[in-house]
Amino acid sequence: MAKTKVIEIEPVTRVEGHGKVSIHLDDHNNVKVARLHIVEFRGFERFIKGRPFWEVPVIVQRLCGICPVSHQLAAAKAMDIIVGAKKITPTAEKVRRLMNYGQIFQSHVLHFFHLCSPDLLFGFDADPKKRNIFEVIKKMPDLAVQGVMMRKYGQEIIRATSGKKIHGTGAVPGGVNKNLSVEERDFFLKDIEKMKKWAHDALNIAKNYTLEHLDMIETFAAFNSSHLSLVREDGALDLYHGNLRAIDAGGNIIFDQVDYRTYNDYIMEEVRSWSYNKFPFIKSRGHIDGWYRVGPLSRMNTSGFIDTPAAQKALEEFKGLTNGKPNNMSLAYHWARMIETVYCAEKIEELLHDPDLQGTDLMVRGDRAEEGIGLVEAPRGTLFHHYRVNENDQITYCNLIVSSTNNNEAMNRAVTKVAHDHISGKPKVTEGMLNHVEVAVRSYDPCLSCATHALGQMPLVLDLYDAEGVLLETKSKNL
């Protein structure tokens, strides 16, 4: 009987959260199965039951210290429905949008400059001692400083719109509790030109990297998939509000302009025994073929256009690469992420010039409802929050589908493809080969803490087992 070896990568480094990759090899070192396991326990949806609904936009920020704003906004949108705020005020919507652009700007910058740039600048196989952010600082200090300053800019926008860095309270059921003062506006206007320029420079790095390495990128963790995101009513990219659009790998519409409050009619979640992370799929396609991708790559694929000039120009170039058809290359996430960074900078500037941000009409109320569903585009993709509330204002039901859960099947496919392409049949598994697997996972910028709804940590490991399940070798990476 042929023996099976299992390789596990745990923790996966330079991603957010805690995960493990296992790769099963047969006697000839051919990959049989490869999986990304989420090894933290999810418990948030149970924890939140019984809490008063108005606390939810603050409480859900405890899900993750990385994208608390996305959770705050999705929860606040759900609670808008609970308090009967069918349409929030222009000031409230624009402050929330500014908060979201600040969040996505800083998150994308962190990922590009500090987590993935070592792979792109030095190569996946480079000596790990030199394939890190510290080498980037040494070799390209200006780039490293730009990354930090851009991230800080986004964080300051979050602080200004959300009230504070920890447990911000800016977005509340029915609106916001503060506007943006003239002083705060002027503070951000002072540096916006610089932010736009640096974002554009980063876009060029990502674009040029893709074009210069196209032969590799066209095959590395590349596979056909459907794509899902919010789009505006006219089909434009929108990261805060809109309707759901899903397309298949060829660009054909699966559904379009779906009110996200009916998501249950279109999306289902499958549980698999080996991961705490669920596997969502499009109902009409079934659980085998209905999986999809979300996030920057998907948003570029689903959006008809972008309503800011530099990002639109970049989108046209991006779409041109695949003749207008969906781009299904995992590593193209980086390019897409930087287009969105440019977009966020442009939208931030647009909003800073809008006097509505200094408006004082912040909240609305209406007829109380018992169920609310909120959805935003988070940095890593589409984020669903769904709640039911009883007559005592307590949460009785909560379901979250976070971005990294939406990408669960895709990340597993990416791991499988890279393992087949780079590890299968090789006599020895090297660190560089393992990093290829991590590069594939990192391209999705997953937040595994969020995916399992645990608080906090994220480390990834690699173990080698024989056919009887005996551990032969462990390669782990400590953060």
């Binding site: 400083v145 608080l455 994220m458």
Partner: protein, 158 residues
Amino acid sequence: MSDWPRILLIGYGNPGRLDDGLGPALSAKVDDASLKGVTVDSDYQLTVEDACDVSGHDIVIFADASVRGKAPFFIEEISPQSPMSISTHSVTPEAVLYFAEQMFNSKARAYVLGIRGYEFNRYEERLSEGAKRNLEEAFQFIRKFVQSGNLHFNEAGF
């Protein structure tokens, strides 16, 4: 221009997880006290851009909850150190100093203040009684140190 040292206190941790909120709780107390020359910040965890703030200060105190350290608190001077890898969940104080030194030429003297906590593993926003006592002692220590106007804990007689 004053010779008074510019001090940055960064209290970090998750207030939604019991005593893990000791760092932000110290930041809140110090902020309320409006101590001379002290800038206060707090966050869930340290991040790379903290390096930028560090660079504008003479002294930086990283305040965190301690799971097993000495009660009521311990304080240690630290120096810049380059770790092998980062994630935004795990930037250490030494790495922040490293970033500050490498990118912004910071020469800040830095300390880690570990305040002993006792309860961590539940979703609840409160401090245990023991943690509250330790927090108060840590606050009094910081207050006296700041009022001494000295740059070094030992030289300040602590």
